[in-house]
Symmetry: C2
Subunit: 902 residues, 2 copies
């Protein structure tokens, strides 16, 4: 027969799937001899059966009764005993922590009959009555679905009647009255009396905890935290211990190290003569844990000893919930504790020094997101002259300072003068995009982490605080109303500072501190006695030693290439050439488009050849000795020309004025050309290899520039390593034609060397026909942005603001597929192309040059898919290096698991 209940003495910390996190850790602490109140756990399997069948397994109640009997035995008390009752707590506890999201009921087992026995045993009538009213209130709300307000009102009435402000000022008699009122409330709302039978209380409480798994809050929380919906929760039945039995009792929370910095030594808070819920409610102020040494030296010493045991045992920072009942320490819960990004690095390295973990394990203890956070600038000391005026949702990290502007167009205009700007809006919509793009940071009064502002800002990598709901945004000013009703006015142009990591908004300029981690990457220097930088250096070094994936950078200029190299890039995976046609070179594109034939095109191409040769020379020089993958021109030509709308308006107005200037004539010609090459869907139009195949000479010019630049550097004794990449190939024939032309041009330039020719795989059809394409390609580079756009059928520009927020809410995807590669859809196209490409050409070199190359989860997927390298923006290079190292460790762990399970 399947068992659904396990005593704390039976389990261990590795049984989180079955016993939940809380249950597994309670069992573990019991197992290693730490003082845990006795109890038992009902498994998640029972919960899953309950969720599937609408009822608990038929044998469950019987099993619970048997374990309860054992508990009575060990405690020497009987459940429901009139003279000396055993009380228990009924606590939820899923595999993953979901703080506050599910139900807990304390003091189960109290009744009219046993409340007096508790009074006698505890020596406090008040304590007993207070415990009883807490049970009725908690049980009523969570088990019997009674609304919470009537209880609050009844308690308030009792205090009013007595003329006191605080619960503690109600005496036993008052509380007895409250108990009566509470029982009346239960009767009124449920039509039945509060259940007096302890076994019935327990039965109902267990079912209520199971049901709370499907509560609205819990479902929403799981969706945002990406916790599976089908794992269910365990239920822990624990003998009650009380921190509110007098001055020699109390309750608290402790960390085995400082979770903010990682520094060694126990940190935490203690509240004498209180229960856990009082700490949460914040009724009285807690004291620092060090105070406990003074209050209760024995208890303190026991806590310190337990903390040391736990950290040594878990080999990590633990947080602990504990209660001292009349001088005796009880540990109610422990788990590996949350920490800041800096602490994560510092602790991991420190535990290696302590010999508790090896460096592989340490590498697995930090995340790419933490490293990314450490690379953002932060605010330093905030002085009194820069008051914190509001706090919103920290939606996109970073520290931004600038003039508040309340309109997107004005923001763009002001930013164009070089002034830093913070765009402040009630909420944003696609109209605001130009302003968002121009701003240093974005602040909104409405919306959460999936609002338009939040989604778009994260996509842009821009600092954003949203949902600062004390902010009243008007046309050209904002009024901030503080909790006390006082108002602060922010006028357009006032300098404000916005902290995307905390959600804080300051009036005035807060000094921005550049990231010391970035300084380290720039210089390679570890300052003496800086444990954080030392930890980062150590773990990055280990990631580099471990990883199999190469990491390159996307960079288009010599300057960017040089930075990428400092950040650890082993080459350029994507050098876009479109940026090289902007600025004053736009006029050349205009002439190319207006050219009537090859004769008019030739001189323009010659001019471009000169310029491009210099462009490529710069990058190849900066990356001397390392590969530089240069993508031939990708975007449609009209992107370099003025917009159809602007031109049409300008021409119409000039016509209206009867303008007959040369400039007007030129604009009319240009308008005709722009109309001709205008596209309904430029993303799906004449671009990439299609442009190369239809505009004679363009790609040849670029190839010649690359070859000549390489030849010149080689003549200087350098070692340039260009690779030529053809974009937007959908069929092998496209690549074959360009390849033949390219080889021809390379052969014509002496000293151009051996230049690999490859293709982007960014079109679904290219992935599907990769076996054929590989016959003409020396390498593939996955353009996962376009592959995502085409695989999902939406363009990033158009949809991120338009409906991604709604889609994240609906759970269509857990993260924007432009941030984290959609492994199960778009990722399959990558896997297909890898497999088919290598079937044709076993040694085919494979990389990724979409921004996914810098996203840790995507990097791990790409490692598993068997790629040779990822390429991302220079600032993401360290993150990719870290994730690539971790991918190897995960692979080894999965392999080991695989071996184990055989």
């Amino acid at each position: 027969m399947q068992r659904f209940v396990f005593d704390f003495t039976e389990g261990n910390k590795d049984q989180r799937d079955l016993l939940g996190g809380k249950g597994a850790n309670l069992a573990e602490m019991t197992r290693i001899g730490l003082p845990v109140p006795p109890g038992f756990t009902i498994t998640t399997e029972a919960c899953r059966a309950y969720l599937a069948d609408g009822d608990v397994p038929s044998t469950l109640d019987e099993e619970v009764a048997a374990h309860l009997a054992a508990l009575e035995e060990s405690m020497g008390r009987k459940f429901g005993d009139a003279a000396d009752p055993l009380l228990v707590s009924v606590r939820s506890g899923a595999k993953f922590s979901m703080p506050g999201m599910m139900d807990t009921v304390l003091n189960v087992g109290l009744s009219d009959r046993s409340v007096d026995g508790l009074a006698a045993q505890s020596g406090s009538e008040r304590f007993a009555q207070d415990s009883y009213r807490r049970l009725i209130q908690m049980f009523g709300k969570t088990v019997l679905d009674v609304p919470g307000d009537p209880f609050e009102e009844a308690l308030a009435e009792a205090k009013t009647a007595k003329g006191v402000d605080d619960d503690v000022d109600l005496d036993a008699e008052d509380l007895k009255g409250v108990v009566d009122s509470f029982k009346a409330i239960v009767l009124k709302h449920t039509g039945s009396d509060f259940p007096q039978e302890p076994a019935e209380q327990l039965r109902l409480a267990i079912r209520a905890v199971f049901s709370s798994w499907q509560g609205e809050r819990a479902v929403l929380y799981r969706r945002t935290e990406r916790i599976p919906d089908d794992i269910g929760t365990a239920v822990n039945i624990v003998a009650m211990v009380f921190g509110n039995l007098g001055a020699d009792s109390g309750t608290g929370v402790a960390f085995t190290r400082d979770p903010a910095t990682g520094e060694q030594g126990v940190y935490g808070d203690y509240l004498p003569n209180a229960q856990g819920e009082d700490v949460v409610a914040g009724i009285r102020n807690t004291v620092a844990i060090s105070e406990l040494a003074r209050i209760d030296k024995a208890g303190y010493d026991e806590l310190m000893r337990s903390a040391r045991i736990l950290e040594d045992h878990y080999r990590d920072l633990c947080d602990i919930e504990f209660t001292i009942e009349r001088g005796r320490l009880w540990l109610l819960q422990t788990r590996v504790g949350k920490r800041t990004a800096a602490a994560a690095f510092t602790i991991a390295a420190s535990l290696v020094d302590d010999g508790l973990i090896d460096v592989d394990t340490a590498l697995g203890r930090v995340t790419g997101a933490q490293l990314a956070q450490l690379m953002f600038p932060t605010f330093g000391e905030v002085g009194d002259d820069t008051p914190k005026v509001a706090v919103g949702v920290p939606a996109s990290p970073g520290a931004a300072v600038g003039a508040a502007v309340f309109d997107a167009h004005r923001a763009a205009a002001r930013a164009a003068t070089g002034a830093p700007v913070i765009l402040v809006r009630k909420e944003t919509n696609p109209d605001d995009l130009p302003g968002m793009l121009a701003a240093k940071g974005i602040l909104t009064a409405r919306g959460g982490k999936t609002s338009h502002a939040a989604v778009v800002a994260r996509g842009m990598g821009k600092t954003c605080v949203c949902g600062a709901d004390t902010l009243g945004v008007e046309a050209d000013r904002a009024v901030v109303t503080a909790a006390d009703g006082t108002e602060t006015v922010i006028t357009e142009g006032d300098i404000i500072s916005v902290d995307g990591s905390t959600g804080a908004v300051y009036l005035g300029e807060v000094a921005v501190r550049p990231s010391p981690v970035v300084e380290y990457f720039e210089t390679g220097e570890v300052p003496d006695g800086d444990p954080l930088i030392a930890a980062v250096a150590r773990l990055m070094g280990h990631a580099d030693d471990t990883r199999r994936l190469g990491v390159r950078a996307n960079a288009d200029t010599g300057e960017d290439a040089a930075r990428a190299r400092r950040f650890g890039a082993a080459g350029i995976g994507l050098c876009r050439t479109e940026h090289m046609f902007l600025g004053e070179r736009r006029v050349l594109v205009e002439r190319l488009v207006l050219a009537s034939g090859p004769d008019e095109r030739a001189p323009v191409l010659d001019q471009l050849l000169e310029l491009q040769r210099a462009d490529f020379g710069d990058i190849l020089r900066a990356m001397d000795g390392l590969p530089v993958t240069i993508r031939l021109l990708d975007p449609p030509l009209h992107e370099f020309l003025p917009s159809l709308e602007d031109l049409a308006v300008s021409v119409a107005l000039a016509d209206e004025r009867g303008d007959d200037s040369e400039e007007h004539a030129r604009e009319v010609r240009l308008l005709a050309a722009v109309r001709r090459i205008h596209e309904q869907n430029p993303m799906l139009g004449l671009r990439g290899v299609r442009l190369g195949l239809t505009l004679p000479g363009l790609y040849d010019m670029q190839v010649r520039a690359i070859a000549e630049a390489a030849a010149a550097l080689r003549a200087e004794g350098l070692d340039p390593r260009p690779e030529i990449m053809v974009p937007l190939v959908g069929d092998v024939r496209e690549l074959a034609v360009i390849r033949a032309q390219t080889e021809q041009v390379l052969a014509e330039v002496e000293g151009s060397g051996d230049v690999p020719i490859g293709t982007m795989i960014e079109i679904p059809r290219a992935a599907l026909t990769a076996d054929r394409i590989a016959a003409e390609a020396d390498f593939f580079s996955f353009g996962t942005n376009d592959l995502t756009q085409l695989g999902w059928g939406f363009s990033r520009d158009d949809v991120e603001g338009a409906f991604f927020g709604r889609y994240l809410e609906l759970g269509v995807f857990p993260a924007s597929p432009f941030e984290t590669l959609d492994a199960s859809g778009v990722g399959e196209l990558v896997e297909i192309a890898v497999k088919r490409g290598r079937e044709t050409r076993p040694g085919l070199h494979l990389g990724v040059c979409g921004e996914h190359g810098g996203d840790p989860e995507s990097v791990r997927f790409l490692h598993r898919a068997g790629l040779d390298y990822v390429s991302c923006s220079p600032f993401r290079v360290p993150i990719a290096r870290l994730a690539a190292g971790q991918a190897v460790l995960e692979e080894r762990a999965a392999g080991a698991e695989h071996v184990d399970s055989r």
Copy 2:
């Protein structure tokens, strides 16, 4: 040892792969006792070896020598014999007919030494010298790469010297002089004498024929005809027979039936005293084959007997090339003959009546393209008052009449008044699209079948003649220059008639005859004694009996639905709802977009509900008892609003004028809204299910309209069968949310019945995740247009004119992937979705609603992929029915082959 040479007595008609079409049929005729000159065939395998290795297999020359010896034996003549030489022809012959594309050399074996022997044997010195000069000329050009002009010039000089106009007026002595000149030309251009050794002539000629497989013309022809490049050609060595030995000799071409109408009886042409090349050159006029009965009764009777034998043997119309040498008939070639579309149907049915083939075979003898051609209107009698002024490339079929207009914008404007228009341009570019769309037909002076005009017109199903190069197109008129130099002027507004099936252009209005086949489909009536309609009815009936695929139609109105039903559609596979928001309903969309919230949206949705209920009622009534798949709104809302460009210009001009009218204020508001919802790539934007999920109430309104319309019809006693289709789903969650809402609305409408809810599969990710999507879908309908757009990453609107012509030329695809489904790329997505969808839901109903559903090749692919039905425009329904029947026959044949090969 592998054999490379087979005597005509060794092969048969089924060996086309090995012996080529010509060789296989010569062997077949030999086998069944028809009079074929003896000879042998060098296999395509030898050619492939030659192409791969640059030389013939080492054993080939020896094998040829052995077969030549056998040939000498059977003919009683020796190759190169001075007294009585054996002469042979060396003819190319690939598996597929490539008329005129590869080389042939006649009279091989003649030399200075044997020419006199030939004269003695033939009794004609003139004949012998003429044969010799033909050999040198043909051999020189095709084998020795001597340019053709010097030969022509030398021949012309001889005629001038003698003062005659015609070759036949040159006597033996003159021709001997020509032979000398020709030999001098060969020496001059090659540095060597014309080879006198017959074996050397043969050796070189064989290699030249092999090489001609790679000739430029041949490569181009194969590309346009979609003949594989790697199959190579066979070479036939045939004993020469001569039709130019006097009045009792001659040559001709015959068909066993009339290839224009299919009528029984031998048709053809005969040219007395001539060789085949004279017929081709058209030097003298041929006579009808019936004349041969008068000239040479025995020869005629023998030909009639042979024709009967061939038709009975091949069970099909054959064409025959023959020569009569001194009263003796020789068959030089036969093959199944080309025929018109009408003849194809008539012949197929007639052969069934004759008991030669069964009706399955008859069904395989016609094509969807032929049926399509029979469904176009045609020109009737062309009177003298409507002269044919030009002939161009027949690029897109149909018969169009209208006023010639020489500018796209003027064409659109004139068409808007209701006047039929023919757009006439030198060539077209994307600027001309509005004019092309508005015109009845398109005529250009430049470009072939892959020009912009041709590609776009075919895509639009619009009549087009292009490359009419005698047309000089000017700004507002065209000048046509006839062969004799006379000029005809077409002025703007002149009525012209354009025949897209023949390329003819007429000045004036030619009466258009509606297609009798369409009349049959409309009425179901077969006129008495009309063999064509009887044949169509019979074969369509058999296709319907045979096919497994259902055929539905894409129709948006009751009228279209009724026509589709008459054309044999078993339901509506795609009822688009976007057309229902055009015209005066645009203003409702405008109000929807401008609405500030649900309160302003509600009354608009209520109005739309009324209208939509009527829309759906009409269609469901027309399709009573048959399924109607209604797609919820798909396009982005801005498609219903004025263009950003037009609005911006209008607002700017009004601002300039200081306009302060209400209308201007409205336009300003509208411009802001259009700017807000403007998209860079509307195809990849907020449309389909994304719109449904973000615009509350829209889809619910449509679902309610469907449900209420169905309920009303059901109350009338009808049997409406709506199906609801959700567009643009990429992830199962999107569908799940809409499905839940839809079920809710359906449940609210009493009598709405059981309405299946399914989804389009038109996004690559949907195909890849079809297993998950199938959990929420009652059916899939493949939107192969969007799937093609996203699979290839190009939008039809933008690219068809921009680069498809170039891509067809380069061979990137053999046909536009929007016309014929790209089986190896996009098709794989269909196959994946079919497999995965049915894994989840074995009975999943699968259809296609892209226009590919009416393309015969695509229909066959979709049948093989296991779909349940295809849906296409009403006019393509008969074509789909035919192709679906043929698909079953092909499948059975492949199955039989599979069994055979085991």
